[in-house]
Symmetry: C2
Subunit: 278 residues, 2 copies
């Protein structure tokens, strides 16, 4: 199974989120039904990441966007669980600091792009500068509308330097969001996260939808496509994300480096091969 074809935003096509089923779950009936496949996807991801880390030829950048409670944190956790933490990092982009605002909008992002051999996950990203910035009129339209091209150029440059880019838009419905807020409210470990602003922000749902659609229409490119991940079901979200990461790593033709030494010679010299019956 390769969910990429089903979930990719084909470059040059129109995105209408209202036509997307946020509760889509392929042929799986229940979470239990998907468990075994999720586990297998994760095992594949784990094996390929070892190669990526060892070979140090390629890097992988995973960008997560989605409305509050869409599951960005949960996805980070899920993705990272499969990987050797030494070769990975997560960076969350919050409101820019004063110094960051004085720079171009990609300045604070660039340092966190992955080195060869590494996987970086962006929890929110440079796309906030065409999302929250646009929805709340933080800069004039002239400025934000120019950023799509600048983002495409930036990503093209990364790709030219062996960074593979996967961009996941986690899509939930407003009803699902409200339900997740309610769960937070009832969970002593997560009540502190709730603010009045979270609810107020729901009034901008349509504006966000327009901004998400534009973001994907303008920035789903051949070199760095967007995927829309139906995320009302957390388990399907995890399944889809790990499937796409697996398939993407698979296509990268990763290889362990050749041993730099004569293995047989080392065996003889240090392990007394015959005696130890290696």
């Amino acid at each position: 199974m390769d969910l990429r074809r089903k979930l990719i935003v084909k470059p040059g096509t129109t995105v209408r989120l209202k036509d997307v089923n946020a509760s889509y779950h392929a042929h799986y009936k229940t979470e239990h039904d998907a468990d075994k496949d999720i586990e297998e996807h994760q095992a594949r991801v784990s094996a390929y990441q070892q190669k990526l880390y060892a070979e140090k030829k390629h890097a992988l950048l995973i960008v997560l966007q989605g409305i509050d409670a869409a599951g960005k944190d949960g996805t980070c956790w899920h993705v990272m669980k499969a990987m050797n933490p030494q070769g990975t990092s997560v960076h969350g982009f919050k409101q820019p600091a004063e110094e960051e605002k004085l720079h171009d909008f990609l300045w604070r992002v660039h340092p966190y792009t992955p080195a060869r051999g590494q996987v970086s996950v962006f929890n929110r990203s440079h796309y906030e500068d065409v999302l929250v910035t646009r929805v709340h009129d933080l800069v004039p339209k002239k400025i934000w509308s120019n950023r799509y091209d600048l983002i495409n150029d930036f990503e093209k440059m990364l790709v030219a330097n062996n960074v593979t880019i996967l961009k996941f838009f986690l899509y939930i419905t407003p009803e699902e969001q409200l339900e997740r807020f309610r769960q937070r409210l009832n969970d002593p470990a997560r009540q502190w996260k709730i603010s009045d602003a979270d609810y107020k922000e729901r009034e901008y749902w349509d504006k966000y939808t327009a901004a998400y659609q534009d973001m994907m229409e303008k920035c789903s490119t051949k070199h760095a496509p967007w995927y829309i991940i139906p995320s009302n079901n957390k388990w399907f979200r995890n399944l889809a994300v790990s499937n796409i990461i697996w398939k993407t790593l698979q296509d990268m033709d990763l290889k362990f480096p050749e041993p730099t030494v004569d293995i047989e010679k080392i065996r003889k010299e240090y392990h007394h091969a015959k005696k130890e019956n290696i």
Copy 2:
């Protein structure tokens, strides 16, 4: 069970590694025997880390040192698995780059110390500058021997800024190291890691032992103690490390922040509490 008392290097005491049993495994007989406790430790760590992340008052720095194949990478993986990847990072310190060599030896380390709310794991650390540097005479004795005090001062400054420091020395025997090298040699996914230098470095075992002992004698302080983790058994190493992290987090008196809003008011306003029967 609190393994801290058993495994801590008491400040001011002499360390003789030959008197330490690298195969120690407390009252556990087998890995299977320890599994349930490891799982429980991890669950506790996970719960406390959520609080640390939410409260943003304290930070935790975990320093890992140990000879090649002592299990630093495996320990990273084990530690991180229990934690929300958003609140954690691992940094491996390799040979310093040219620019780094032109700075003081703590310059490249400081940027990776954890912010409040965060956990950082150092896979090797500033202690390399009194270990490999000393063993291979990379700087004069006058320089490296002065560094113990400088390290203690640096760590004291971190502690004064709410960083709790845990330093784990993973202790294995030369026989166990050779066996682990042999396993690597036979594993196609890890052969590339082996070099002749790994074996040659074994000739310096006694010199490393002396350097490790000094490091712990001089830098196991009340504010930032060293723990010697018997690591011939990987499962006991994981058990001990997670036990000590758990107990340390427990002592930090971490709390979720109070909700900033009136939960009941929000329930009524947005969730129509009565109808939904929350």
